[in-house]
């Protein structure tokens, strides 16, 4: 009796297992097909994109209608189906790709669209990447607090002993002042303290003067919390994509909002900040993310980015000269921007820093036919030496200051 029971249950389990796993396969196939073909123009429950939101579409249209539409919407429209023509008109006569799926793929896709998985909202995880131990100033502050406590404890012990001996007690501040006076009463100590103060004042003065006009580590807050790490690092977008004039002009180019919209017309929610920061682009350019259309007659606002790298006006610098002709990587001057959530100035950008690079960088002479004869002459003149930028006038004052 027991045996039969267990056999039955096993059979039951197997049946369940098979039905379940078959469903599972159908599900993944449909999902796969949706993700590799449909997702760039349609969402399920995420609102209108290029085409309509497909939530509940399998209830609205029958399977046959959908199959005809997906396989070749243009043929279907040509056949004169009223619903098909209405949709074609509604979406600005944008024809959908004709997919011609195999029957089983189509069934899997329709099954997936009928029962899409409930989207799990991704919880923004706050990564504690910055907690790489305590900063030196925190450690110093802790030491200071510890020392102060020690002074306090020792003073109170001293006072207790004095009460035992019936001597007058001192408050904490009195102790500190008296001890300080006693310390400075010795001329040797005055010399030591005086010397220390002198060194500190000199160092402070020197640093302040050397820091005038040097903005290294400048990291201002920008009007939009744009992360270069997400765009250039994680998603691998080339610097030139947004800073497209660096190749051909003096300035590297701050992308106007239409460049942001090349991606953000579709991506309305960001990795770190959700919709809040991307909404600022829409506010600037006048875009409605719900209907995915630009608002007509909108008064556009500039996005006032804060300039970080700024040479004084008496120094001339040209990006195209360095990027296109000199073939330098952006990172050589700007540091690893693709790893920065908030950009800061990495280099010194002082004259000495420019000059140093001009002294060390070799001129790239290959594939530059225009200057062949000039390059030959230079190779003759500086035979056996590295031909660096300074050898072709890279240190002339008038090159940068005029």
């Amino acid at each position: 009796m027991i045996r039969t029971y267990s056999l039955n249950s096993r059979l039951l389990f197997l049946t369940f297992f098979f039905t379940f796993s078959l469903n599972l396969f159908a599900q993944t196939d449909g999902e796969q097909i949706f993700k590799t073909n449909c997702i760039s123009c349609h969402t399920i429950g995420g609102g209108r994109l290029i085409g309509p939101d497909l939530e509940g579409v399998t209830a609205k249209r029958n399977a046959d209608w959908l199959k005809q539409w997906i396989n070749s919407s243009s043929d279907f429209i040509a056949s004169g189906d009223a619903d098909a023509i209405a949709i074609f008109e509604e979406y600005n006569k944008v024809a959908m790709t004709s997919f011609y799926f195999e029957d089983e793929d189509m069934d899997a896709l329709l099954a997936y669209m009928e029962n899409p998985p409930i989207e799990e909202k991704e919880v923004a995880t706050t990564t504690a990447e910055n907690d790489k131990g305590m900063s030196s100033s925190t450690i110093l502050l802790l030491i200071a607090v510890f020392l102060f406590l020690l002074v306090y404890i020792l003073t109170s012990i001293k006072n207790k002993l004095k009460t035992q001996l019936n001597q007058p007690t001192e408050t904490l501040s009195e102790t500190i002042i008296n001890q300080g006076k006693a310390f400075l009463a010795e001329s040797r100590n005055v010399a030591i303290v005086g010397f220390a103060v002198f060194i500190i004042v000199m160092k402070f003065t020197f640093d302040t003067l050397m820091g005038v006009g040097v903005t290294t580590n400048y990291q201002p807050e920008q009007p939009i919390a744009f992360s270069h790490k997400i765009h250039a690092g994680d998603n691998g977008i080339d610097c030139n994509y947004c800073h497209s004039s660096a190749r051909s002009s003096k300035t590297s180019g701050i992308p106007s909002a239409n460049v942001c919209m090349n991606c953000h017309a579709n991506i309305t929610s960001g990795t770190n900040t959700g919709t809040a920061e991307i909404q600022k682009i829409y506010d600037a350019i006048g875009y409605d993310p719900d209907t995915r259309t630009y608002i007509e007659g909108y008064e556009q606002q500039p996005i006032k980015w804060v300039r970080i790298h700024n040479l004084p006006d008496f120094a001339y610098f040209n990006h195209s000269q360095h990027v296109t002709v000199g073939k330098l990587e952006c990172q050589e001057c700007h540091g690893p921007v693709q790893e920065m959530d908030v950009v800061k100035q990495e280099s010194l950008m002082t004259m000495g820093w420019c000059i140093n690079c001009h002294r060390e960088t070799e001129v790239k002479m290959e594939g530059n036919d225009y200057y062949t004869s000039m390059h030959e002459k230079m190779k003759e003149k500086y035979a056996g030496q590295k031909i660096t930028v300074d050898k072709m006038g890279g240190l002339e004052c008038g090159k940068c200051h005029y």
Partner: protein
């Protein structure tokens, strides 16, 4: 004992004060009126009409920006361009190399190194980027991706298509034709016989 502690405390306090420095402030400038001359900076503000970054005056053409591709941003324009537009770029090694490097800057993160949608973009939308070597599905052009003509591709770069945005503001016409050349020569038949 207390003396020694006071001594150490004094130095600690001094070093602590010296170590404080803010990064949100650019610091001092030596001669501000030489650093910032009255001439207008490229992306600066001015008190005449606000922004220095402006669109060209109506009816003018910037040097090197003469438009030779005169098809509209419509389905008709797309189909006409596909039928008629001819790529003026000759198929030379130099043009192909330029095209490849420009493709790397402006296309690769979505379309991928091999043009089969294997880009580095992580958002779900980019998992359905069409493959240039797709021979099966019929696109808006009436042809599969592998048979798109140079005019189709140029029109798509210029005005955008579906989820792709218009790239005319970032890439000049000449550069766009070089990209078209590279896509047609290297990617449309990638891995095909």
């Amino acid at each position: 004992m207390i003396k020694a502690i006071l001594k150490i405390g004094f130095f600690v306090a001094v070093i602590f004060l010296a170590a404080c420095s803010g990064d949100s402030n650019p610091g001092y400038e030596f001669m501000p009126n030489m650093y910032r001359s009255p001439s207008m900076e490229t992306y600066g503000e001015n008190n005449i009409n606000g922004m220095n970054a402006l669109t060209p005056v109506k009816g003018t053409v910037a040097r090197g920006k003469l438009k030779t591709f005169n098809y509209d941003k419509t389905l008709e324009g797309y189909l006409n361009a596909g039928n008629m537009a001819v790529n003026p770029m000759e198929n030379t090694d130099e043009n192909l190399a330029d095209g490849k490097s420009l493709y790397g800057m402006f296309c690769k993160h979505c379309h991928g190194k091999t043009g089969t949608g294997d880009g580095t973009m992580r958002h779900a939308i980019y998992s359905a980027v069409p493959h240039y070597n797709d021979e099966k599905t019929i696109r808006r052009s009436g042809t599969p991706m592998s048979e798109l003509t140079s005019g189709h591709i140029f029109h798509a770069i210029t005005y955008g298509l579906n989820a792709m945005g218009p790239h005319a503001s970032q890439i000049t016409e000449e550069e766009r034709w070089k990209i078209v050349l590279y896509v047609q020569e290297e990617l449309q038949h990638y891995g095909l016989e």
